[in-house]
Amino acid sequence: MELIAFYFFSTIVLLGAIFILITRNLMYSVFSLFLCFVGVAALFVLSRADFLAVAQLMIYVGGILILLVFGVMLTRPKLRSEDNTYANYVEADNGRRLWAGGVGLILFFLLLSVIFQGNFISTEQHITAKSTIQTLGVELMTSHLLPFEIAAVLLLIALVGAAYLALHREPEHK
């Protein structure tokens, strides 16, 4: 049962990713990315990371995806068109297909050979607790306190930097 769910969600993730690769409409690829992120959250649940799955839904789907849609909308060239559906089409051409396919396939087979050669020995220990939130919280507040604080400062810097960069976008205001 678990395996069937795993295959179902991984098929969703991979099909969504392949659709992003082949489509030429950036709007479609952003919505396909939504499918991918939800599928990855389901894979997190299947590997017993409930808090990470919720964080994935909130950060990626709720934050990053909305931001990407805004970015797509704000950076489209203005064109006058009588057609009402032109807002649904943002052209993003695919180039260098041979390079991308070749390098991607080579990398994939390299990773596959590494996975097949890697002889992973199971420690016979698995997560059995219903939720990992308590362990995560305790670890974040004790042994991983410094990275936690650094992440907070990094987010603050990113916020200030993004606000500064996005201000005065028109060249005459420089």
Partner: protein, 101 residues
């Protein structure tokens, strides 16, 4: 119990597709999409390995930090893309060749 290798296969395929997207797209935001997919593939790997570490779930902690860095990266990336669009009126990375030569 899903075998560990299955997670690794899915993550490897997702990483390679994201890599191909980052190479292929002639649009700066398309490249950002590819980078996000690659970060997600790495997160799947980390969490799959962290299943076998029930006491200190270090893989999940690391994946949390990866998510934080991804959020910071995407905000800065979008701000830069908006700025580039304001200056060059184009977001095709092939046409942004001011620094060439």
């Amino acid at each position: 119990m899903i075998p560990l290798e299955h997670f690794l296969f899915v993550a490897a395929a997702l990483f390679c597709i994201g890599f191909a997207i980052a190479i292929t797209k002639k649009h700066l935001i398309g490249i950002l999409l590819g980078i996000e997919l690659m970060l997600n593939a790495v997160n799947i790997n980390l969490i799959a390995f962290s299943r076998h570490d029930p006491v200190l779930i270090q893989g999940q902690l690391f994946a949390l930090f990866v998510m934080v860095v991804a959020a910071a990266e995407i905000t800065i990336g979008l701000a830069i893309v908006l700025r580039v669009f304001g200056v060059h009126k184009s977001i095709d990375p092939d046409q942004l060749s001011t620094l060439k030569n």
